[in-house]
Every structure is written in structure tokens, then in C-alpha cells.
């Protein structure tokens, strides 16, 4: 993994869920028999109420939440014909993935969080370089003696989200929107094949939400990285997702083009009529 500048597109990995169940130690069932395939380079919006399993779904993809049964495959998910997938990189099976292989997968799957999850008391640059940790020897990372190549990569990532001038500021000095863009730069520094975003705009105001969503959209379009983004706001999901997956009580209740989802499908997903709180921009009158 030494080639840093191979941004030649079409690097996204596919993701396949096969009869995935997740039961938490307290007995709560996060996912019920979820089967779906996400193609390399797709941008998928996952919608549903709080507790519907959105966070669980994205967290199973990088193994932060272990699956109870079924199988998740990340990498080459083309049926049978694996011959042409030689350039696609490693393929991971989550049900048995542990230790070093799990960290290798995580290094290829970037994650964006609702609360940004930056180390607030260190610089923006150091936070972005967290995305390079997997490729950095332990002694270097403990001393903070980053490779010049990695620093360059981190700077490029910050340029892509247009916040490079803050590289040496403390993360705590940034606004919420800026912090989220730093978090996106951190995932970009991983040179990931997949980006998972768990409610990335839930802590942001509407204009900033659009900036962050456009960043994700551009990354998906320009770099061909597969993007799976959890959203609570339906208008954002329809606007930025190519495909929408609706979850309700841990089950997939909708899977189709985001543009085709109308109010009745959304009410089906939510199990109730829509309210003004389900959309970011539109006034209640539009939906009622």
C-alpha cells in the first residue's frame, strides 16, 4: 500500500449483506435478516427512525458492531466471475474477520460520525493523520514522527474539503461544520474504498449540512469511493443519495432509487405520517 497518488477512480469496494442478524448483548435486535448488495462506487442513503438500525447497519460494515449471524462481504461482490476483479483489492468476510485482518479492512473503510469524533486538543493535521495510522509503524506514530508522504496526503485531503488553512489549528477551535470536514479529510487520508457516514449532518445547521453532503457527493463522484450515509432528513436522502435503503425495526422495508421514494414510501419506512422534523429545509406545508 505504498502508492499514495493512485486516485484513478473506480476504486470503490462492493458490500454484500447475506441474511445478517445483529443481536446486542442486552437482547435488543439491531438488524433482522438483512440481505442487500451495494455496488462499487454507489452512493447509498440509509433512512429510518432512531433505533431502526441505521447505525448498526453501517457499523457492521467495518466490524465496530459484530454480526450475530449471516455474512457481510466487503470488496469483490461480483457474482462468480472474479477473474476481472483482479485489480479490485482484497475481499473481506466480516463473520470471521479478527485482529490484523480486521484492522486492514478498517484502514480501507473510512468513517464519519455524527459528533465528528476528533481529538479536540490536538491539531487538525494530527487528526487527519489518524487516517494514516494503519500504514505508520508503531514507533513513528507514538512519537508523532509522521512520514513526509503522509503529511502531504493529509494536506491534500484537507485541500479537498477546503479547510487546509486550519491545518495547524487545534481541532477545538473549529466550528461544527469545519470539524466535520476535518473528519471527512481524515477518512480521505485513509485512501478508502468505502466511506461510511453515520448521521454526518445531525449536529449541523442546514447550510453547513449541504456543504458536508456535497463534499461526500463529490468524493463519491470524483474518486469512485462507495459511500453509505445514514440520514434522518428525508429531503437530504432524496437529494444526495442515488439509492435509498429504508430501515424499520431492523428490517429493510425499502430499497430503490432515492428519486422514486415518495411520501407514501417514506411514511411506510417511518411507520407514521411525516412531520416538519423529518425534513431539513422544506416547510411542513410541502409534505402535508
Amino acid at each position: 500500500m505504498s502508492g499514495h497518488h493512485d486516485d484513478d477512480g473506480a476504486r470503490g469496494a462492493g458490500i454484500r449483506f447475506e441474511h445478517v442478524n445483529v443481536t446486542y448483548p442486552n437482547g435488543y435486535q439491531g438488524l433482522r435478516d438483512v440481505s442487500l448488495t451495494i455496488e462499487p462506487g454507489e452512493m447509498v442513503a440509509v433512512v429510518g427512525l432512531s433505533g431502526a438500525g441505521k447505525s448498526t447497519l453501517v457499523r457492521t460494515i467495518n466490524g465496530l458492531v459484530p454480526i450475530t449471524s449471516g455474512e457481510i462481504t466487503v470488496g469483490d461482490v461480483s457474482d462468480g466471475a472474479a477473474a476481472d476483479g483482479a485489480a479490485a483489492g482484497e475481499t473481506y468476510r466480516l463473520s470471521t474477520l479478527r485482529g490484523a485482518a480486521q484492522r486492514r479492512l478498517r484502514s480501507e473503510v473510512g468513517m464519519v460520525f455524527q459528533s465528528f469524533n476528533l481529538a479536540r486538543r490536538t491539531t487538525v493535521l494530527n487528526n487527519v493523520l489518524v487516517g494514516r495510522l494503519h500504514h505508520t509503524p508503531t514507533w513513528r506514530s507514538l512519537l508523532g514522527a509522521w512520514r513526509a508522504d503522509d503529511v502531504e496526503l493529509a494536506m491534500q485531503a484537507l485541500e479537498r474539503v477546503e479547510i487546509v488553512q486550519k491545518a495547524y489549528s487545534n481541532a477545538s477551535e473549529l466550528s461544527g461544520g469545519q470539524q466535520q470536514r476535518v473528519a471527512i479529510a481524515r477518512t480521505l487520508a485513509q485512501q478508502p474504498r468505502v466511506i461510511l457516514a453515520d448521521e454526518p449532518v445531525a449536529s449541523l445547521d442546514p447550510p453547513t449540512s449541504h456543504v458536508v453532503m456535497r463534499d461526500l457527493q463529490r468524493i463519491n463522484a470524483d474518486l469512485g469511493i462507495t459511500v453509505v450515509v445514514n440520514l434522518h432528513f428525508l429531503d437530504l436522502a432524496r437529494r444526495y443519495g442515488q439509492r435509498m435503503i429504508g430501515l424499520r425495526a431492523g428490517e429493510v422495508v425499502y430499497d430503490g432509487p432515492a428519486a422514486d421514494a415518495d411520501e407514501s414510501t417514506l411514511e411506510e419506512i417511518y411507520g407514521r405520517s411525516l412531520t416538519a422534523e423529518d425534513v431539513l429545509d422544506a416547510p411542513p406545508a410541502v409534505l402535508e
Partner: protein, 310 residues
């Protein structure tokens, strides 16, 4: 109509009113505390007569000590203090080096229970034993030297620093940790970049604070003969050289307060990111107030002018 009063018809729901709590435990506790205090007074066998002429004697000895103190002994007192401070500094530094990895191993989420709990027990044990006792126990091995004192301080520091360390690491918000984990970092890397940046200011401040404590402890360690200011103090008290005792007291108090102030200022800078030197801050506050006073007449003028125009 009139406002509802207590005489108004009561709601028909049958709510059971709670019984007034008896707080038996609380009463028993008070009884025990009082009993202990009374017993303690009986136990220490106070000689009330001595207490009666204590103020007079106190003045007498204060006079012997400070009218005037033995200024000629100032250099010797200072060098003895420096030895005490050196003892504290070396002991704390050693304590930091030992306690840091141990506190990591005592942190939930970083080490298994089988490692964590024994370590925590060791920290608790070390905290329970005063430095003086540790030093006395070590005397037979390392002898009556300042090094013994430093080692005693180091061992004592491990108890407090270890506990403060793992508490600080556990208190760190889990977000950065989760992010580093999700990026494929190893456990050590998660610690370095997920936990340490957010815990570092507190931990550094703890180290300095522990140094302040150690400075005081080092003076006490001198009393048992581990060298430094405490030893000089106890020697001079034994031979009733009160004016030297006076100068030693002065030096101890001044140096300890000075170290507390400097260390406290640095700690404040580490935690808040701003320098706040006590004297300078007071001056700046005064100048700000003066500037505001100077500015205020014109402000008042502006306000009145606005008022008349409006």
C-alpha cells in the same frame, strides 16, 4: 372566581401520600460521630493547664525564633532546601516514569481485568502508606540518605499518579478513540492518538501538582534524617537553636509557596491554554478597569446625546 385554596374540593383520584422518611441510619450516624468525638476528648488526656499558658509560651518562642532569625544561616538553609526540592523533583520524576505505563495498564478498555484490578489494588495500598512510613521501611536497605527520601517519594507518587492517570484516561470522551479504531489503528496507536491528546493536559497538570505535594513531603522526610531542610530543622530544634529554627521556617514557607505559585500558574496554562500570572493578571484587571472608567464619560455623553436626539 377566587384562586383555588386548600379548602377547595380535592381531586377524586386516590393517591397515597408518602410516609415521612424516618432516616434511622442518619440518626445512628450522628450518634456515632458524637460518641467518637467525646471518646477522643477523653482519650487524648488534655492537660488544660498547659493550654491556659500556651499563648504566652507561644509568644516567647516566636520571639526567640524571629527576633531576629539567624540571617547568617540563610545560605545553609537555602542549600538544604534545594536538596529537599531536588529530592522532591527526582522522586516525582521517577514516580511519573513508573506510574505512566502502569496507569495505562489499569485503564478500562486497554487492559484485561486480571491486570487492572491488581494494579489498582497496588495503587490504593501505596496511597494508604505515608511517605514517611515508606522511607522508614526502606532505611534498612538504602540507608539514611536523600536518595532514600527520593525513592520514598517516588513510591508514594506511584499510588496517586497511577490512580489519577487511569481516571483521566477513562474520562476521555470515546469519540476520538472510536474514530482511531475505525481507521484501523492498533491498540497502542488508539491510545496515542485517540486517548492521549485529550487526556494530556490533565495528566501533565497532575504531574506538576504531585511535585508540589512532594516538595512538602520532602521536608517531612528530612525529619527522619533523609537530609535536606527537614533534617536541619529537627537538628536545630533538638539543640534548641531557636533563631536558626526561625530562619529555616521562613525559608520553608517562602520556597514552598513560591513553588506552589509557579507550578500552579503553569498548571493553569496547561489546562486552559492561557497564561494567568497572579500579579500580572491583577495589574491587567486594574488597567482594564481604569481604561473603562476613562472611556465611560464619553459613553455616557453618547448615550445622553442619543437620548436627546431620540
Amino acid at each position: 372566581m377566587s384562586a383555588p385554596t386548600l379548602a377547595a374540593p380535592r381531586p377524586t383520584t386516590t393517591q397515597d401520600r408518602p410516609r415521612k422518611p424516618a432516616h434511622v441510619g442518619r440518626k445512628v450516624l450522628w450518634l456515632v460521630v458524637v460518641a467518637v468525638v467525646v471518646a477522643a476528648f477523653w482519650g487524648v488526656d488534655i492537660s488544660w493547664d498547659a493550654l491556659w499558658d500556651m499563648p504566652g509560651k507561644l509568644w516567647h518562642y516566636l520571639g526567640l525564633m524571629f527576633l531576629p532569625p539567624a540571617w547568617s544561616q540563610l545560605p545553609a538553609a537555602l542549600s538544604a532546601t534545594m536538596l529537599s526540592v531536588a529530592m522532591a523533583w527526582f522522586g516525582t520524576a521517577l514516580g511519573v516514569v513508573i506510574s505512566f505505563p502502569l496507569s495505562l495498564l489499569a485503564t478500562r478498555g486497554l487492559a484485561p481485568v486480571a491486570v487492572r484490578w491488581p494494579l489498582r489494588a497496588v495503587f490504593a495500598l501505596l496511597r494508604a502508606v505515608p511517605e514517611v512510613v515508606i522511607a522508614v521501611l526502606m532505611l534498612s536497605v538504602t540507608g539514611l540518605t536523600a536518595f532514600t527520601g527520593a525513592l520514598a517519594i517516588a513510591i508514594g507518587s506511584v499510588g496517586t499518579l497511577g490512580k489519577w492517570g487511569y481516571e483521566a484516561f477513562e474520562a476521555v470522551d470515546g469519540g476520538a478513540t472510536e474514530a482511531a479504531t475505525a481507521a484501523g489503528a492498533s491498540r497502542a496507536q488508539v491510545m496515542r492518538w485517540g486517548v492521549w491528546p485529550n487526556a494530556a493536559p490533565e495528566v501533565l497538570a497532575f504531574w506538576l501538582y504531585r511535585f508540589e505535594i512532594s516538595v512538602r513531603a520532602s521536608a517531612i522526610l528530612g525529619l527522619i534524617g533523609a537530609g535536606g531542610i527537614g533534617k536541619m530543622l529537627v537538628d536545630n530544634i533538638q539543640f534548641r537553636v531557636w533563631d536558626v529554627v526561625g530562619i529555616l521556617m521562613l525559608v520553608v514557607v517562602v520556597v514552598t509557596m513560591l513553588i506552589d505559585q509557579i507550578s500552579g500558574t503553569v498548571r493553569h496554562r496547561i489546562i486552559t491554554g492561557r497564561w494567568e500570572v497572579p500579579v500580572v493578571t491583577a495589574l491587567r484587571r486594574r488597567s482594564v478597569r481604569a481604561a473603562r472608567l476613562e472611556a465611560s464619560p464619553s459613553v455616557l455623553e453618547d448615550e445622553s446625546r442619543d437620548g436627546t436626539v431620540g
